[in-house]
Amino acid sequence: MSATVETGAAQPTLADAPSLRMVSRRPLALVLPFVLIGLWWYGTADRPDGLIPSPPAVGIALWDLAFGGIYDDAFSQMLLPDLIASASRVYGAFLLAAVVALPLGMLIGRLEIVRNLLEPTLQLLRPIPVTAWLPLSMIVFGLGPRSAFFLVALGAFYPILVNTVFAVRSVEPRLFEAAQMLGVSPARLFPKVVLPASLPGMFTGLRVGLGFAWVVIVVGEMTGVQTGLGAMIMDARQLSRTEIVIAGMAVIGLAGFLSDLAIQALGKRLLAWSPLHG
């Protein structure tokens, strides 16, 4: 038979688009931060007694946090150890949450008995904010890193669970029919169809979950741990060192942002087939 294919794929023109988009998107993304910093600067300049420090004061605090040599106090040069402490909690707790939430979500999504058994309870617990768990967590896990770990994991848990349940439940029925007529037995539908088909949804859950882990790290580190960006912010707050509080906020924002870029890049690589991620 003839094998000509003029009516081909709808792809070639898209090939060079990403680089173009990157160029025009980056400067645009910088507009809002500059405006905000400008307003902040304007509002705080020439007010040495103001409660909110000016951008240069925060910049100096950040420098001292990173390299020392300015104030040489308890905060100097603590940025890297604190960042490492927080990041290891975020990623450790995130992995723990993923290890529990992914299989649990698949079971709830595919097995009615598990769904009926667990889902109502989990949904009932879901609206309780991580902050509210803080006192109980400190009683159960004690003061310190274990409590922090639990709270951060809790923050990451629900986004992963909810997205996984949704992903495995919304596999197109057509794909089951297609697999079965090609010879896949019902028992093997899970690895052959459900799992690959729900990867993009699970991935979205992981991405949101990792974001939440960064969001709740400050609450997690209110449990009396000695290190970490959250602990640093809490200490600075008690000493009214607002410039360090803001510097800590900026570092958390940046770390979470870079962490999200990394997981997105990973998704692009692993899920090239998905129109949502590829």
Binding site: M1, A3, E177
Partner: protein
């Protein structure tokens, strides 16, 4: 006597709630035959096709493949869906090799089979592309290739070209006929286009709604390639069209 490839004997389908989608359908498909099922929506043509595929069980009667009752979907009956049903996480190559791989063929053989059907379907340039990057016509080529690569004896096609533009549809009709001629494949093809049915089929089965049933069968003796504008073609079209529309008229009355 040689057993027919497929026999549908007095098959009916009633859904819970009392809707009767199909009543008393009898149909025989011989090896190598190309049969089109045609009828208005609600005539049970898709139900009949899905019963043959094994996706639905008959409430009455039975479906026999090689004389044995059909109990569920299986690789001897490959289905081509209107919405393709391709696996989005697999490339064209992976989709075409899916059946052989799922049935445990060794990797090298799967690769060889995939290659062969990629070539047969004219998909060489798209072998490593994912389905979302393909046009509708290309997707349907992959869906057909995947059924052929799996050694299906009977291809069940549910309005496979219904979502395609006219040019692509005509081209795929040609290609399907060429493949069908070159292999021992049998085809049951559901369509609501009378022209498509007469153009493609050895035999056209006319179905009618309320409840869905088979009302007529006609063997198409025209030589291929058929000319849709020839007088002979139009004689058949008028006759079958009258059968299809008689029913509408009765319903309207």
């Amino acid at each position: 006597m040689v057993e027919s490839l497929l026999r549908v004997v007095g098959a009916g389908k009633r859904y819970p709630g009392g809707i009767e989608a199909l009543r008393g359908a009898n149909l025989v498909i011989e090896r190598g035959e190309f049969v089109c099922l045609i009828g208005a929506s609600g005539c049970g043509k898709s139900t009949l096709l899905r019963m043959i595929a094994g996706f639905e069980q008959a409430s009455d009667g039975e479906v026999l493949m090689y004389g044995r009752p059909v109990e569920g979907p299986g690789p001897d009956r490959g289905m081509v869906f209107q919405d393709y049903g391709l696996f989005p996480w697999l490339t064209v190559r992976g989709n075409i090799g899916f059946g052989p791989a799922a049935r445990g063929k060794p990797k090298a053989e799967v690769a060889r089979i995939a290659e062969r059907f990629i070539t047969m379907m004219g998909l060489e340039r798209f072998a490593d592309v994912y389905p979302h990057q393909l046009s509708g016509g290309m997707k349907q080529r992959v869906a057909i290739g995947r059924v052929l690569a799996n050694d299906a004896k009977l291809a069940l096609m549910d309005e496979p070209f219904g979502a395609l533009d006219a040019m692509t549809r005509e081209r795929l009709q040609e290609e399907l006929l060429a493949i069908w001629r070159a292999t021992d494949l049998s085809v049951v093809f559901v369509t609501h286009s009378l022209e498509e049915a007469i153009y493609l089929a050895d035999r056209v089965v006319v179905m009618s709604p309320g409840p869905g049933r088979i009302v007529a069968e006609e063997r198409i003796e025209l030589m291929r390639p058929r000319d849709v504008s020839s007088p002979e073609f139009n004689v058949i079209r008028r006759r079958l069209g009258a059968l299809l529309h008689a029913d509408h008229a009765r319903e309207a009355a």
